[in-house]
Amino acid sequence: MNNKEKEGLSCKIEPKATRRGFFYWFCGSLFVLFNIGAISGIVCCLLKSLMPSNWTPRSYIYRKIYATSLKDINVIGKAILFQDKANHRKAILVNNDGVIQAFSLVCSHLGCQVSWDKENREFFCPCHRGKFFSDGRVKSGPPPKGLDEYNVNIEGDMVFIEFKEPYWQPEQYFKGGYKL
């Protein structure tokens, strides 16, 4: 058998493109696209329903809270712990060579609470033994960055701390006074 005869035998009959075939293909593609769109939409809605912090226009809000009087902190080297348990606010005010700074006590490593070591003038995290200088920088241990610093506003004799707080705070719905 020569090559020409071989080619003749191996030649396949191409399926003819028909209008019916095109219609099926087109409808099938539309069906698949519609299903992908509908399922994605449902998944997005479900995920949104599970992410309450994304319901609000922003993640965090800044609130200016009175912390202490200036004369109490106006001594070089002094540190004052500010706690507002009802509203989950906690910070430390430190007078570093006359500059009053406020730091979050949340460790930048894995979120444990750091404590203030008066004697060594440093912060210590009990979870993974991270240490921070009094100006919030990392001294030793695994923390990747320093402690978060809050803005401090001094108005007359009053010292205010500008707290960074989650915008969405669900506890409010469980306190009296909230109307459904």
Partner: protein, 354 residues
């Protein structure tokens, strides 16, 4: 007569079901402790489900503060621990069987690794097994996050921050777990749902099913120690009866331990103070200690990479064999396995004594 009744209505008889389920299993499973370790986690899991069902009837899934000044969840667990009768034992058994489940899973994993029972065609059995191992860790973590004491609170804080450090999707996962930017009243229900529904019923049971089905289709590997002569016995009823005996041994053992060492509860959660010597449950010690030694990014990426390699190890070893001699790959596998196990043990000991 009963058999006829069942046959007419279901189309099958108990004898036929037995024949379908039955298979030959190696005698080593009945004779050698290390070969019977796969059944212990399963028995523990059943005990966990039964005791968990009872505990969930008394658990109050709300972390808001009650009139007593403590969270409702904490008060409910405290009541189970020291006020209500019998529940103390049930909580103790639930806690203890979780620990035994992890120990037996770890030993089972070691046996499979060092006898190379994960080799072709059993790679997927290993993958399912490793996923079960990590899911058990997840169950442990979400379980002790429910108690409402200091350990619970700070474990949630640290655990969700570790999850949050996962590259690309970490922030999303953290928000999803916490129901917000920080721990709030909607965090506890998520951990509860994970602990009682998602992880055990939607993850664990399908994985156990796959693990057992694939094991059944390939048969249990017979890489015995040579102590037992190669022979087989029947799954139904002999091996099932052995597992039943194991269940009683475990239950009596748990009861005895809980009688002498009843479960306790720590100080109530305080988001303002991290206790001086806080530690997670013992099975997280190696990871916790490792995170103390290295920088944050290296720590998280190493943990994720190690876990991923552990899951797909059979495929990694097969890949290695394509480029280096078979025996060299075997030596590498043995060395890595031994090294990893020793590191975990040393880190756990160091964390325990510091």
């Amino acid at each position: 007569m009963i058999e006829k009744f069942i046959k007419e209505r279901t189309g099958t008889t108990i004898g036929e079901i037995k024949e379908k389920i039955d298979e030959k299993v190696p005698t080593a499973l009945a004779r050698e402790f290390f070969f019977a370790l796969g059944g212990i986690p399963l028995v523990c899991f059943v005990i966990q489900i039964v005791t968990g069902l009872i505990l969930s009837c008394y658990f109050i899934n709300y972390s808001g503060i009650t009139g007593s000044g403590f969270s409702a969840a904490y008060v409910s667990v405290k009541n189970m621990t020291s006020v209500f009768p019998v529940l103390n034992y049930i909580r103790g058994i639930h806690q203890l069987s979780a620990n035994i489940m992890i120990v037996s899973l770890f030993l089972h994993m070691l046996r499979v690794f060092f006898t190379e029972s994960y080799r072709k065609p059993r790679e997927l059995i290993w993958v399912c097994g490793m996923l079960l191992f990590f899911t058990t860790f997840g169950l442990g973590f979400t379980g002790y996050a429910l108690v409402g004491d200091q350990l619970s609170y700070w474990a949630t804080q640290v655990g969700t921050n570790i999850a949050g450090a996962t590259p690309f999707i970490g922030g999303f996962i953290r928000k999803l777990m916490l129901a917000g930017e920080e721990i709030n009243v909607y965090t506890l229900p998520r951990f509860f749902i994970l602990h009682v529904l998602v992880l055990p019923f939607m993850v664990m049971i399908p994985l156990i099913g796959m693990h057992l089905l694939i094991t059944r289709s390939h048969g249990i590997s017979y890489t015995g120690t040579g102590k037992t002569k190669k022979s087989y016995y029947s799954l139904v009823p002999h091996h099932i009866f052995n597992e039943y005996k194991i269940m009683w041994v475990l239950l009596i053992g748990f009861l005895a331990v809980v009688y002498f060492y009843p479960p306790t509860i720590g100080e109530p959660a305080n988001s303002f103070v991290t206790p001086e010597h806080i530690k997670p449950e013992w099975y997280f010690y190696p990871m916790f200690h490792f995170l103390k030694l290295v920088s944050f990014e290296i720590g998280i990426i190493s943990i994720l990479a190690t876990s991923a390699i552990m899951v797909v190890w059979p495929l990694v070893q097969t890949g290695l064999e394509a480029v280096i001699p078979y025996k060299a790959a075997k030596v590498i596998a043995f060395t890595l396995g031994t090294g990893f196990m020793l590191i975990c043990i040393v880190f756990a000991i160091l964390e325990a004594i510091h």
